[in-house]
Amino acid sequence: MSENPFLLRQKIILVTGASSGIGRETAIQCSKMGAAVIITGRNPARLAQTMSQLEGTGHQMLIADLATDLNKISDLVPIVNGVVHSAGILSLSPFTHLPEDELRNVMNANFFCPVLLTQQLLKNKKMNKNGSIVFISSLAGNVIASKGNSAYCASKSAISGIVKVLALEQASRRIRVNCILPGMVKTEMMGSFLSSLTPEQLGEDEKKYPLGYGKPQDVANAAIYLLSDASMWMTGASLVLDGGFSLQ
């Protein structure tokens, strides 16, 4: 193999939730590794901002809400080599006070939308053989839990469960399916949670991470590995990425 297997040259990668946080950074880093990137997100202005930060050519942006435009996305995208499901929401509420519509919203955004989009792409033959599907799951719900986080934890552990089955079912086409379980990564989505802590609590919390809190780029790099041919033998895995948090 003369080509560096860690690069994404000649690959078309679809990134959802690309208007902010981990999704945006993943799109940018994929473009730097040579991929043509298709980005989706709900907010046109912020999506355009991501678009302007992509390197190279051949990129596309699709303004779409996964909750309502699933078919639109799977119709409009070309055959892709990889998908990163990064769209997601966070909602904090103690379980006894969790409104049903909030639970359904979180399950919808974090579980049903990415899973149903994957189904559409596979059914419509929009995933190339040897392709790679990456779900951004979470440490929360899979390795750890925190009070008030029941809806989010449930949605993220559901993702990790279905990934194993998809990996088995798609192995004959050599399509790999994996998920990443990030610990605390400083993004806009986590902003509301982090701002609920006092500066002292924030310092204490970050101390639980031997390597400190993560950055979106740390997750983007893991996604690149899973998208690239370097991880050709990896499928059905949940990659813990937490700066050592879960060790102690």
Binding site: L92, S93, L98, P99, K147, G148, S195
Partner: protein
């Protein structure tokens, strides 16, 4: 907005502390069972019963039940 009713809703978020122990001047963080989950429950209760949202910051800045009441009353 009625203070007595607010105190009742506030007290309902606690399992062990009886309603009779709650007064406007009660410093709720001194209640033995108070923890981070109770903070979330108070915010959720306010949202549920009064259809307004108080921020973690606003709750953090309040010491007594009456102070929380004032924050909520201002928003209703």
């Amino acid at each position: 907005m009625d203070l007595t009713e607010f105190i009742k809703h506030f007290a309902e978020q606690f399992d062990d502390e009886p309603l009779t122990n709650f007064a406007p001047e009660t410093r709720f963080r001194n209640i033995e069972e108070w923890d981070s989950l109770h903070a979330m429950m108070i915010m959720a209760m306010v949202n549920e019963k009064y259809k307004v949202k108080i921020t973690p910051e606003e709750l953090k800045n309040s010491q007594t039940v009456a102070e929380v009441f004032e924050v909520v009353k201002y928003k209703v």
